[in-house]
Symmetry: C2
Subunit: 330 residues, 2 copies
């Protein structure tokens, strides 16, 4: 297996230890529960918790810090954390103003985070949660668990985190998180597979000259497998469904995330980002803020996703509010 | 070719355009010369210029901004920029206090940057340069072009940039850059090859279960090709020569960069970083600051490098001084 690891069953523990080694001044670890916390707790602030399966780094522990999350809970690779783990995070970050959990829409995550909310409420902690379902590659009308949560989740962390930092109450922080979710759509594509360390071999395969449009961040099937085309055509295949689903019009303003899935060089992400910028300009859609980089990955998968968040002036202000985390600074 | 690109001969131009699209408020582009500049010029500050072949992103354009570089010059992929390009950068950033160029030790870069310095001096601009040669995989006594410059270069950008920002004169900024170079060593390893877009196929190959220790950031041969071992053993193979060459002792303090070459997931970099931290602790060497991420890459090469900078209190202060660039914030 082509990986820099020691023991496949210890990758999450060693990764979290390595994060604490790198950021001893700002992050703390609840080792048993695999929860990364801010080192300093701010009283009477709504606390934000996110998390899910590992393998999507820097999501979510990389977003723990001022202006974003208070804690991130790590499951095993591509596996939901248990309700007990999430409950430990809730109890650790509760600062008297309630806890908002940002959950990606996968059935295991939704089940375990909501069970944790019930457990915490028995301890008289006020807990709310929102479910991010930004991936437009799945139709909302299909009889399934609904759309998956992917890179657009970072917009929710950023904006809800900024409002929580300003001292807003739980209901208001939850409402803005829901507004971001309603205004965010994403779509991704993959050029290569990835290998879960404990499995030891790729969970699917893509031909040398093939790509898959609409593939999920755990390798879930997309909507089209085809020959690799140009960056402009790839971007169009991702961007058109996003724009259509958001019903964007000329004159609208968006935030843009051109996200790498792990093994795609920054050079290619900037090329894709240029293509997105040109295609949005042609449609008269303004870009208020851009993020380019590996924000929500799938281990060493090659590929990218594009996320748009339709902005209004309040969302834009919150997006531009200060944030200071290992993986994102504003 | 497994890449998100349009035209192999346009990758650098489109990448630079995508950087400007992402950072229109802070970066500007000299299109003809492929130079990325800070949008605002600070008068009477020593200006820092770096650059080299493309394919190492975020190096170097990602380090243009407050507290680090004033300009970065991009050659084609893995090819030095021309003297004319470098001269254009020098002339654009000169703010009356002279220009320091930070050059990685490759013969093309050294030749073209030094020729540019001569050209600029004919225009009465004071120009100095330093050459970074941190890669310990090559012995200094070998009859060759000397050690290569790799990820340790970022420490030079950071510290010389901080001192320039504080208003120090050119001779002092050059001296601190030379101190950082004298105190920095790195070594890397690769798990897979990379493909230069215009070549269209990998420039070398590594077997499925093999790795190469000491490999350069353009795929230059390393010192040992062998079966992949554990993260702890890989780290030891990189770290021991670095520590020995720096003659580090128990009680010393270092800055640490655990750098990814492009396709290695952050999970593995944090695992490697944990291993480095444990091995340094065992030797009684303190870590004053840690950077983990893709800082100096080789397109989609999988692998990592480890860089150590031996600190004193002044270097530590400069390393911790504020920096605000697309790829590095302090």
């Amino acid at each position: 297996m082509n990986k820099i690891i020691n023991n496949p069953s210890e990758v999450v523990n060693e990764m979290l230890a390595g994060m604490i080694d790198a950021h001893p001044d700002r992050l703390a670890l609840l080792k048993e529960s695999k929860v990364i916390l801010r080192k300093e707790k701010k009283q009477n602030k709504v606390a934000l918790v996110s998390g899910g399966g590992s393998g999507h780094e820097p999501a979510h522990a990389g977003y723990v810090g001022y202006g974003m999350l208070d804690a991130a809970v790590s499951g095993n690779v591509f596996a939901s954390p248990s309700p007990d783990q999430v409950q430990a995070a809730i109890e650790a970050v509760n600062a008297g103003a309630g806890v908002l959990m940002v959950v990606k829409n996968y059935s295991g995550d939704v089940m375990n985070f909501s069970m944790a909310a019930e457990l915490a409420e028995m301890d008289d902690i006020e807990v709310a949660y929102v479910v991010v379902d930004d991936d437009v590659s799945i139709s909302k009308t299909q009889k399934n668990a609904g759309r998956r949560g992917i890179a657009g989740t970072i917009f929710v962390h950023k904006i809800a985190g900024a409002l929580a930092e300003q001292g807003a109450p739980l209901a208001e922080v939850k409402a803005v998180a829901e507004q971001v979710i309603a205004n965010t759509r994403s779509m991704g594509m993959a050029l290569s597979a990835c290998t879960v360390p404990e499995a030891g071999r790729p969970s699917f395969s893509i031909g040398e000259d093939e790509m898959e449009i609409g593939m999920g961040i755990h390798g879930e099937a997309g909507i089209k497998r085809c020959k690799i085309t140009s960056a402009d055509e790839i971007v169009q295949a991702l961007l058109d469904p996003v724009i259509e689903d958001l019903q964007l019009q000329s004159g609208d303003e968006v935030a843009l995330m051109t996200n790498g899935l792990g093994a795609t060089p920054l050079m290619e992400l900037y090329i894709a980002n240029h293509s997105v910028s040109l295609q949005l300009a042609k449609r008269g859609i303004a870009i208020g803020k851009t993020f380019v980089g590996n924000y929500m990955t799938s281990l060493e998968m090659a590929g990218c996703s594009i996320s748009l968040l339709k902005l209004d002036s309040r969302l834009k202000d919150l997006l531009n509010a200060p944030a200071d985390t290992p993986a994102l600074h504003v």
